[in-house]
Amino acid sequence: MTIEIKTSMLEPVRHTFAHIERRFGDKPATRYQEATYDVQSETNFHYRPLWQPDLELNDPRRTAIQMSDWYAFKDPRQFYYGSYVQQRAKMQEAAENNYAFFEKRNLANHLSEELRASLIRFLVPFRHVEHTANLNNVYGAAYGYGTAITQALMFDGMDRLGMAQYLSRIGLILDGNSGDSLVEAKTQWMSADIWQGVRAICEEMLVTKDWFELLIAQDFVIDNLVANLVYEQWDEHLVANGGQDVAMLTEFMRVWHKDTARWVDAVIKVAAAESEENQLLISDWVTKWRGKAAEAFAPLCNEMLSENALTDALLVMDKRLAKAGVK
């Protein structure tokens, strides 16, 4: 039953901004809608950029993907700045409690020497992968088109800095804040054979110019492997080998990957559904980067897990891709 209470109230002249009304009708809009749609400037730019004089300042041609409406990339999480930071603040509060508990109870002391060494060798160097992901997503924020996708890329970029810092903290917990584990992990990253493929693919992404291709390479292909290999398969391995407490320190990443995959899948689905050309581009990019990544991760996987691990992770990726409607 609806009770209608008659009050004298001020009648609004309109319910939302005109560009929101054109998209969604004259009704009260959500904060996500008002913060997102049609906010970016689209025409009458004053000067061509000195750094790319063939294009406008905001220009959809910085990727081969074409969209009739760049605001089709609605974020299923409906993150605008305010909802984004509040969500992450909750996650970081949980993480902070976990880290504090881990440190207070000295749980690091319960880990075997072997396990500590393998954390430094296999887990901590991923801070450099996260740093690469930070740059790749900020690249999309800088050169992408339309607020809907660029803001989500910006949030992703900052998340990756946060996760690079969490991984660094794991190193500091292991070395009693001396920083030695970070030095050791960096040595691994720079010269250990198992890491060179991963480092090479990171460097290759950093010189890749199409921002949407980069989104596919980083946020779909690489992240899929990292989520599955490191935070699922290797986590199970840790549990089986007396390292179950480490999961407290990586819980943030597990929650994060799940949250972000929803957005990435939605982006791919929308772009692929737009046209045959987009579909083909995405499928080519996935093939290209999937192949490179499989090769790059193989030596690490073999040492860290097993030869089947990579096959399993690739299978998860292929399923996700099919679900997003990419053939």
């Binding site: 906010v39 305010g82 800095l161 720079m190």
Partner: protein, 500 residues
């Protein structure tokens, strides 16, 4: 194992600074391609001093707390119809300028800092830029959300995004940021990070926002001061960038000085509109534009340049002209908008007698002599039912894009005109400062999308001005524009207050 206590600096360095590495498989210059073309020399990024050492976990925590407070106030504001508690409905017109003119600049800042946050080769500077980028996104979004409620009850907010790309006076702020973003990453930092953020935004966000509070606008003062709480980080980044560039190589000094000269001039031109908002659009006055200028530019900026003198940096060129302008520009600007009030997306008006007296008191050397007589005349004409609108389209300065409204500062009865010839065309400027900027980079400024030229070239529809206002600008003609008196905004206000 004994755990060492880490201080903030060491912790930040360990967590962040060592994430980057020397490339082995690609050319690093390919990954950071825009660092050299401006002539700036960076010899060692590791000498970068992090101004604030905020890790992401703390960032999320503190920013979420700020957002929670801010949105609680915005919710309360709309639930209680806070717009009825402001001092005077004329005030809302300042907010229309804010949303159409300033908020889109926050968006451009978000884009520009995302670019430097990707392109700088040094991780310390890069991360600081990234944080500023996401903060700027915060600012544009919180501003839209704060204005969302005003949009429901007042005209002139509804097409802010469309209008920013088109309306004549909005090309002034838009071209300012386009100019900075079209430049290289280091000029962008000197333009926006240093000149604009360190000195000039204070004039908008501190005295104007304090004025918003004094005029009963809780929504605006809250987003204003909440945005400023990020600004302290941004200002410090701007200053660190300058010091870093000057310390890296002596060859950087003349380049940086040239950019400071350019961007302080361009910034003071842009702030003309803020001057007018403070002196004419805040019904309850906190301080005059001149007083604000003295505190935030002359005193604070003076201290800053004294500090930078050790690097061989001097005060921006034309500082003496700028000092004289504080007596004039707000009056010259409001007069221009008043007389073009049919072509604006907000309302204009003749100041009340009390306001004229206040201006006389605050500007004893100039107001009675040069400006008050105009307003007395406008008041008389209005009383006779002859509210004055000029029909001519103004000539715009090719650089700052402001109509030729400024006078020679030594002779306030004489409009200032300058010009340059370039490739068989003549280009017009409002000042020596703007002419210098053009002469240094004519190939850039000949591209300017000058709204009045565009109208004459038929690129904005027409044929009549009213067609352009209605169809191309999407101004609701007769509703959003013209005098405050008799406007729908005013009528609604009177109904709310029971004085209709």
């Amino acid at each position: 194992m004994a755990t060492k206590k880490l201080n903030l600096k060491d912790k930040y360095r360990l967590l962040t600074r060592d994430l980057d590495w020397e490339f082995s498989y690609q050319d690093r210059k390919e990954a950071f391609p825009y660092e050299e073309f401006e002539g700036i020399k960076i010899t060692d990024w590791s000498k970068w001093e992090d101004p604030f050492r905020l890790t992401m976990d703390s960032y999320w925590k503190y920013q979420a707390e700020k957002e929670k407070k801010l949105y609680a106030i915005l919710d309360a504001f709309s639930q209680n119809n806070g717009q009825t508690n402001i001092s005077d409905p004329r005030y809302v017109n300042a907010l229309k300028i804010f949303l159409t003119g300033v908020s889109p600049l926050e968006y451009q800042a978000y884009q520009g800092f995302a670019q430097t946050g990707r392109e700088f080769g040094g991780i310390g500077a890069r991360v600081a830029c990234q944080m500023q980028s996401i903060d700027e996104l915060r600012h544009v979004q919180t501003q839209i959300h704060a204005m969302s409620h005003y949009n429901k009850f007042f005209d002139g907010f509804q097409e802010f995004s469309h209008q920013h790309d088109r309306i004549w006076y909005l090309s002034v702020p838009k071209s300012f940021f386009n100019d900075a973003r079209a430049a290289g990453p280091f000029e962008f930092m000197v333009a926006i990070g240093f000149s604009f953020e360190y000195v000039l935004t204070n004039l908008l966000f501190v005295p104007f926002m304090s004025g918003a509070a004094y005029n009963g606008d809780m929504a605006t003062v809250t987003f204003g001061f909440s945005a400023q709480s990020d600004e302290a980080r941004h200002m410090t980044l701007g200053l660190e960038v300058i010091k870093f560039l000057l310390e890296q190589h002596e060859d950087n000094v003349p380049i940086v000085q040239k950019w400071i000269d350019k961007w302080f001039w361009r910034g003071t031109r842009l702030l003309t509109i803020v001057a007018m908002m403070m002196d004419y659009m805040l019904p309850n006055k906190v301080m005059s534009w001149k007083e604000a200028w003295e505190v935030y530019f002359e005193e604070a900026g003076g201290a800053l340049f004294k500090d930078l003198a050790r690097y061989g940096i001097r005060m921006p060129k034309y500082a003496e002209t700028i000092e004289k302008e504080k007596e004039h520009i707000s009056h010259q600007a409001w007069w221009t908008f008043y007389t073009h009030g049919h072509a604006t997306g907000f309302h204009t008006w003749v100041p009340s007698d009390e306001e004229l007296d206040w201006l006389s008191e605050k500007y004893p050397d100039t107001f009675d002599k040069y400006y008050r007589p105009r307003w007395e005349m406008a008041k008389e004409m209005e009383a006779k039912g002859e509210r004055f609108y000029t029909k001519a389209l103004p000539q715009l300065c090719t650089v700052c894009q402001i109509p030729m409204l400024f006078t020679e500062m030594d002779d306030p009865t004489q409009t200032c005109y300058r010009s340059s010839d370039y490739e068989e065309n003549k280009y017009h400027f409002c000042s020596d400062g703007c002419k210098d900027i053009f002469d240094d980079e004519p190939e850039k400024y000949v591209q300017s999308w000058l709204p009045v030229h565009q109208i004459f070239q038929g690129n904005c529809g027409g044929p009549d001005v009213e067609d352009i206002l209605r169809d191309y600008y999407r101004i609701n003609v007769g509703t959003d524009n013209m005098d405050m008196k008799g406007s729908p905004d005013e009528l609604r206000w009177k109904e709310w207050k029971g004085t209709a």
